[in-house]
Symmetry: C2
Subunit: 339 residues, 2 copies
DNA sequence: TACGGATGTGTGAACGTGCACACAGTAGGA
DNA sequence: TCCTACTGTGTGCACGTTCACACATCCGTA
C-alpha cells in the first residue's frame, strides 16, 4: 500500500505542514512548552503518520549536546574478555544510559597510542561525558578529564583522582577484612594471599584489608604478587605460595578467576579444597559457580556499579552537582563450598 | 602559559582567519581538493595552534553521515557475559572500525521491547550501517534492515537472510564433520551430541555436520537438545545423555562452555575424560584451556569475524558492492587432551 | 476601560560544516 | 588572438534543529 519511500526522511517542516502548524510548535511538542491539546494531537498523529524521527546531528549541532557518553575501559583486550566483571559494568551503564535516551560509546584503551586517540576523542565533542573504569594510578586520562571539565564518573578510584570527579566503588578494604575473617573463623592459621593489580586502588585495598584482618598472623612471605586478575596469574601465584610454605592452609585470592587458577594449582599439588586448604575469591562472577568446589567469595555488584556511574554522569549533565562525591555499594559475602 | 580556554572550540572560521584564508580552503585541506603548498601549511599550523577538531555534528548534518556503525548483539545479557566469543567479535569489529575513523555503537537486544528500540535507532540516522551478530531465524531485524536499505553485514547467517546482505561466518557443517571424525578416529562408537541453539544457523549446522559424519552410527537418542551455548546447559545436557545411554563413549559439545559443563557432569558421574569418554568442544575459547583436561576443540576466529564484518560494512559505505556476498573463515582443529 | 499575566503560536537567526558555483590566473594549442 | 583546461581560492547556501523574540488571544481585576 504505502510506497517504499526510499531515502526521504520527514523533518519538522514536513510534520508542521501536515499538521497545519509551524516548526516552532512541533519543536515545543518535542521539547516542552505551551502547546494546546488540539495542536499537540494533530502534530502527534502527523509524526506517527510520517514516521518522524528527529535528526540527531541537527539537534546536536544546535544544542551542543551529542546525547552520547563514553565508556572508557583501561584494560588489555584479553583481560576485557577474561574478566566478566567489566562486561557487567558495561551492561549496567548501557542500560542506565539508554533509559535516559543517551548512547554509550565504548572505547578500549590498551596502548599509549590508544590513550592519545581517546583523549582526542573526548575533547572532540563527540560525547557529553565519560565513565572510566579500572584507571591506573597516574593515569593520563585523569588529567585530560580535569582539563576538559568534561562530566565524568569513575568506577573505582585511583588515589590521585581529582577531588571533584565523583566515583562509585566498593569497600575493598572492608570486604577483604570480612572474607579474611571468614577464613579465620574456619580455623585456618597459615593464610596466604594471591594479590593482583597492585597498581590499582582495588588491588592495594584488598591487600591492606587482608593484612589488617590477620594482625599478628600476617606474614609477608605468604603474599604472592601477580600482575592481573586472571586465571593464569592464579595458577602461577598458587604454585609460588605452595613452594614457599607447604603448610599453607588458607588462601585469599584477589579475584574469582585467580581463585580458579589457584584451585587448579592446588589440585595439581594434590591438596584438597576445602579439606587441606580453605580458598576464597572475590567478585562472585560466573567463575565462582563453575569451580569445583564452588567458591566462597565476595559479591561485587558489577551491574549496579555501572548503572550508578551512569547516573552520576547524567546528574551532572542535568546541571545538578552530585551531592556525594564518592559512593560505596554493599558487598555481601557469599558462602559456598571452598571455605 | 596558555589560557585555560574554558569552552570555546575553534571552528573553520577561526582557523581561516588565523591563516588569512577562507573557510573553503580550510575545508579543502580537510576533505581534499586543490590547495597550494603554502596555504596548506599555513592552515595546518593554525589548526595545531588552535587545537582544532572538526565538529562532528555539523559534519554529520551536512554530509548525512554519522561515521558510526551499530553493533547489534541479539543475546540475553547473561549470555553476553558468559560467552567470550561475542566479546571477541565485538573487539575485532571495534578495532577495524576505529582504524577507518568510524565509531562503534553497541546495542544489546534482549526483549521485544528492545527490538523496537533498536529498529527505531537504526532508522533514526544515528548510524551509517550495522553489524548484526547471532540473529535468529525470522529475526525481525532482518526485515528492518532490508526495508531501510541500511548497509549491513551479518556474522553467521540465518537461512532466511536477504540475498543482498553480506555475511561472514564459519563452515559450521564442515567443522562439525571434522571434529566428529576426530572422535571416530580415536575409536569411539557410541557418540552423543549436546546440541544447542537450534533456532540459529550455527546450532542447526553443527548438528547436521555431526549427523553426516556419523552416518550409520548416528542415533537420534544420543542428541541432547539444550537452549543456550552455556555452562549450565552443558551440565544438564550431559546428565541427560548419561541417563539415556550409560555406555556412551564420546560426546560432541556444541560449544566449549557446554563441554565444560559436560565435564562437570561426567566427573560427578565418575567417568574419566578422555579415559571413559572422549569429549570435544567448539570455539577454542578461554574455556578450552581452563578445563581439566584441556579441551580438544574447533578454533573459531572470533576477532577476525568481527573485523571482516566491519570491512564489509565499510566497503558498502564507500559505495563498493561486496564482490562476495558470503565469506567463510577457516576453522582449524585444536587437539588437546580431552579426546 | 485598561492593564498585566498566562497561554498559545509564528518567524528569523543561528549552530559549523561541505559543496556547488563563481572567479582569477597561468599555460598550451589551434 | 582566442579558446580551453587546469590549478587555486573565495562566497553563498543548505543541512534540520532549537531558541529568543514578537505577536495574539483570553481571563480576571483594578
Amino acid at each position: 500500500m504505502s510506497r517504499p519511500q526510499p531515502q526521504k526522511r520527514a523533518t519538522v517542516h514536513d510534520i508542521a505542514a501536515a499538521a497545519g502548524l509551524s516548526r516552532g510548535t512541533v519543536s515545543r511538542v518535542l521539547n516542552g512548552g505551551y502547546v494546546s491539546a488540539e495542536a499537540r494531537s494533530a502534530i502527534e498523529t502527523a509524526m506517527t503518520d510520517l514516521g518522524y524521527v528527529p535528526n540527531n546531528a541537527a539537534r546536536a549541532l544546535k544544542t551542543r549536546r551529542s546525547q552520547a557518553v563514553a565508556f572508557v575501559a583501561h584494560e588489555p583486550h584479553s583481560l576485557f574478555l577474561d574478566d566478566p566483571n567489566i562486561g557487567a559494568i558495561m551492561l549496567g551503564a548501557n542500560a542506565a544510559l539508554s533509559l535516559a535516551d543517551h548512547q554509550m560509546v565504548s572505547l578500549v584503551v590498551e596502548s599509549t597510542r590508544d590513550n592519545e586517540r581517546v583523549a582526542r576523542y573526548l575533547s572532540g565533542g563527540f560525547v557529553d561525558g565519560a565513565i572510566v573504569v579500572s584507571a591506573r594510578t597516574k593515569d593520563p586520562i585523569i588529567k585530560v578529564l580535569s582539563d576538559l571539565a568534561l562530566p565524568a564518573a569513575f568506577v573505582g578510584h585511583p588515589p590521585d583522582l581529582d577531588q571533584n570527579i565523583p566515583f562509585v566503588g566498593i569497600d575493598n578494604v572492608g570486604s577483604a577484612v570480612a572474607i579474611t575473617e571468614h577464613l579465620l573463623s574456619t580455623g585456618r592459621r597459615r593464610i596466604g594471599m594471591i594479590a593482583a593489580a597492585l597498581d590499582r586502588d582495588s588491588g592495594i585495598d584488598r591487600l591492606n584489608g587482608f593484612r589488617a584482618a590477620l594482625g599478628d598472623l600476617f606474614d609477608e612471605e605468604l603474599i604472592a604478587d601477580v600482575p592481573h586478575y586472571d586465571y593464569g596469574s592464579g595458577v602461577k601465584g598458587m604454585r609460588d605460595l605452595l613452594q614457599r610454605e607447604p603448610a599453607i592452609d588458607g588462601v585469599f585470592a584477589a579475584s574469582d578467576a585467580i581463585a580458579a587458577g589457584a584451585l587448579e594449582a592446588l589440585r595439581e599439588a594434590g591438596r584438597s579444597v576445602p579439606g587441606d586448604v580453605g580458598l576464597v575469591g572475590f567478585d562472585d562472577s560466573t567463575w565462582a559457580v563453575r569451580c569445583q568446589p564452588q567458591l566462597t567469595t565476595v559479591h561485587q555488584p558489577a551491574k549496579e556499579l555501572g548503572a550508578c556511574a551512569a547516573q552520576m554522569v547524567l546528574r551532572q549533565l542535568r546541571g545538578e552537582h552530585p551531592e556525594t562525591v564518592g559512593q560505596l555499594l554493599p558487598t555481601p559475602l557469599v558462602l559456598r563450598d571452598s571455605a
